[in-house]
């Protein structure tokens, strides 16, 4: 009998993902706290303003390293193709659940790939600018003009990343059966055939009548 489920993420992929996610949550909340006064109370999650200031950069470095793991695992699945660009151009069909009108999707669709590269770029920017503004260890070594640029770029990168993650989380909720891929590691055959037909063919070797 054919197995009903298809493995999408190994245990180590899932652990790597969720470790990065936990770091991200702590960083996003403490970072927003430093960004806007209405969010300052979130520093309490890390033990108050001073603790948040102390911990944020260390957690940041940990997240970067953890995300590096994800990058190594998944980058070769995320090369953009013309098909992906076409997929992105049809975002109206995407948003309205008209999947049958979209170009055939492989392991990842254009949106997922775009998000992947946005994350790679913002994580790099966040690391570099984060070191420049890191008090009390590194910031004093840089000119104030450089630090001013760094805080601005850090804030913009963080904004883009948080926006991307909001979309990422919502997409996982919206496309049913996705969260299980990252918690238990498996998706159903029908899920794979509907959302990632080319990948379905690749892993099952079966034709895929639509």
């Amino acid at each position: 009998m054919r197995p009903k489920l298809i493995e999408r993420y190994k245990a180590s992929d899932r652990i790597n993902h969720w470790f990065t996610a936990l770091c991200f949550i702590l960083l996003a909340l403490s970072g927003l706290a430093f960004f806007h006064p209405s969010m300052f109370w979130l520093t309490n999650l890390l033990g108050g303003g001073t603790w948040a200031r102390i911990l944020h950069p260390f957690i940041g470095v940990v997240m970067f390293l953890s995300f590096l793991g994800l990058t190594v695992r998944f980058w070769h699945h995320n090369r953009m193709t013309d098909n992906d660009r076409k997929w992105l151009g049809q975002w109206r069909d995407v948003l309205n659940n008209r999947e049958d009108k979209l170009p055939e999707v492989g392991r990842y669709n254009g949106g997922q790939k775009l998000l992947f590269w946005v994350m790679v770029l913002t994580m790099l920017l966040l690391l570099v600018t984060g070191i420049v503004i890191w008090q009390p260890y590194f910031a004093p070594a840089f000119s104030v003009t450089l630090v001013r640029w760094a805080v601005l770029v850090h804030a913009i990168s963080a904004f883009v990343l948080i926006l991307g993650i909001i979309v990422h989380i919502y997409a996982a909720i919206w496309v049913k059966g996705t969260i299980g891929a990252m918690t238990r590691g498996y998706v159903t055959r029908a899920w794979a055939r509907k959302h990632h037909p080319a990948w379905y063919r690749e892993v099952t070797g079966e034709a895929n009548p639509r």
Binding site: L152, I156, W174
Partner: protein, 288 residues
Amino acid sequence: MALQSLDIQRRSATTTQPPSVRETTKVAKLIDISKCIGCKACQAACMEWNDLRDAVGESQGVYDNPRDLTDQSWTVMRFYEVEPDGKLEWLIRKDGCMHCADPGCLKACPSPGAIVQYANGIVDFKEENCIGCGYCITGCPFNIPRISKKDSKAYKCTLCSDRVAVGLEPACVKTCPTGAIVFGSKDDMKHHAEGRIADLKERGYESAGLYDPEGVGGTHVMYVLQHADQPQLYGLPKEPTISPLVSLWKGVAKPLAMLALGVAAVGSFFHFVKVGPNEVEEEEETKA
């Protein structure tokens, strides 16, 4: 509202209006560089009143001592040997916080109440609320705040807010032996400066003038300069403003970014409400 003289008119990382029914006279310190003899009594008085004891440094072969502001040295005399009109002048400027009317440090500070501006115009750091992020340094156009290596908190001149609160002049003013530093209401200090500038002009300093830069809304520490057209001679920025990078970051970007994140989160929810989940039909599931 314990001490009327310390009514707060602006508070860092606070978006609502602080208590503002009362108005106090704006104060200012006026430093007349033409009268300064570089004795450093102001530095000593500052240390004494504020109980600060900076580490004894090393001689650098120049008069400047200490070489720079630190968490323990809130004011330092800076000595400049310049030749503006082809003749040597020894300009000595007492450096320290300018107490801007529009303080960049306060604008940049993320911690509620770590930086306040009193109704009298003094900008004060409340170290107990400081988280040590160093954002104030990016906001300051005058390179004033210093983060302590001991406790990672930011320190600077308080304009002796504790003395001013009870009707005394700042310690540096009290001690200045030549009357180069005076203190009073901002209006009175401007008036006093006018007299000094007229006197200097009479003596041949034709570009003598007051340093009260507009770009930061004016300051509550002002200088009488012999060469007001060239403040750079004294190590002062010509047209100081809060850096546009900081204005963008802690200005329009703040509400717009929060709004955009809110729209993304709420918008996602409404997308779900409108088109519903993207799910595999039961029929397909069994077929597969």
